[in-house]
């Protein structure tokens, strides 16, 4: 028999009420139940980081959290970044610095970067390198990703004054 639960979660500012089976990972809930397919699934065992999303502001691997565990939590996925067709600063920086090629890993890197910059607004380059080691990118060699995150950190610092 299926073990189903009624859960509520706030995703990208919208409240959702869902009935989900306990074995379903949060990544599958986001993709299949909410249609938020920007969250990508690579390895499904916590190595690649492609499914990184924010839960209550903290970066998590959505393949290592079950959907039922997100009950009552606040989630943010890559879909929350752009404003309509207007990409946010981090997305623009990824584009400018060639921080992506095939794009599969990009949603995970963007959410990882967002999480880190929100709690550590003035990282040095070595810290950024350590942080992005959490996720796998097989196209870029990471250089462009590090450049993009560092540039955004710098720009946000200036705009904060």
């Amino acid at each position: 028999m299926k073990d189903q639960h009624l859960v509520t979660m706030r995703v990208n500012g919208r409240e959702h009420e869902l009935v989900i089976e306990s074995r379903k990972t949060l990544a599958d809930v986001l993709r299949q139940d909410l249609g938020l397919t920007g969250t990508h699934l690579g390895c499904e065992h916590g190595i690649c980081g492609a499914c990184t999303v924010l839960m209550d502001g903290e970066p998590i691997r959505a393949c290592l959290v079950f959907g039922v565990q997100a009950d009552g939590r606040e989630l943010r996925t890559v879909e929350s970044l752009a404003d309509g067709d207007e990409l946010n600063d981090l997305q623009q920086a990824f584009s400018k610095h060639h921080g992506l090629q095939c794009g599969f890993c990009t949603p995970g890197f963007l959410m990882l970067g967002e999480a880190y910059l929100s709690t550590n607004p003035e990282p040095d380059r070595d810290e950024v390198r350590e942080v992005v080691s959490a996720n796998l990118c097989r196209c870029t060699g990471y250089q462009g990703i590090v450049d993009a995150v560092c540039e955004v950190a710098e720009k946000r610092k200036v705009s904060r004054g």
């Binding site: 306990s22 499904e44 959290v65 079950f66 350590e130």
Partner: protein, 289 residues
Amino acid sequence: MKPASFEYHRAHDVAEVVELLVELGDDAKIIAGGQSLAPMMNFRLARPSALVDVNPVSGLDYIRREGDLLRIGAMTRHRDVEISRDPEVHDGFAVLPRAARWIGHYPIRCRGTVGGSMAHSDPTAEWCLLALLHDASVVVQGPRGQRTVPVAEWFTGFLTTSGEYDEMVVETQFARPRAYGALTEYARRRGDFAISAVGVAFDKVDNRLTDVSVVLGGVAGVPVRATEAEAMLEGSPATPETWVAASRNAAASVNPPSDLNGDGDYRRQLVETLMQRAFVEALAEGARR
């Protein structure tokens, strides 16, 4: 892959956790951070019939100093220790926040818990090595009440502890504060489980090493103490000659298993190199305080 089906239960305090564990039997598992259990379930290496989610349990995320003990609540996330600036942590246990940086990656450290790591007891896990390095005790609570288990009796084999199925790890108590300490390891990719790891902790009196402990990871099914090397180091001058000789001894004292990450001989050589690095790092970091 996707996990097999299971029954999901949520607990809000330790008593409820224990109640559920008793009721559900030995096929149920506690899920805390889930950074080891969830991958094992996704691979179907683990197929628990039920999960008891302890994330809603409050009051178990703390780092408290009491005399020579540093008590860390089971639900304390790795990241909380890593970024701790608390002088009561740094005085005598500074190796803990520094070593926490070796644990997985940033998102894993935000989610994974100290208690979960002790319960999972991977022989290369940083918390398991640090616990042995600091003569820690694991506090567990079950239907028969609480008991405190010295770490030497906690690890009973690969991913196996002396904890019972109906008990929950509630705290780890680190003892023996010392001025110098370091944990260093080697893995092929950043954040992977170490192929070999070495932890050292000691004090220094008149430039001689005292109260030395040395732990090795990745060389057996459980973390091990290099007792002979410790005896060689005790009271010896704090010079490279001392730890080079002791590192050679520690490496020779183990007979590590071979697997696709490295054969036993390679692991032994890593132990020798890593132990020397650990002494260099410990002395440099200790001097900075």
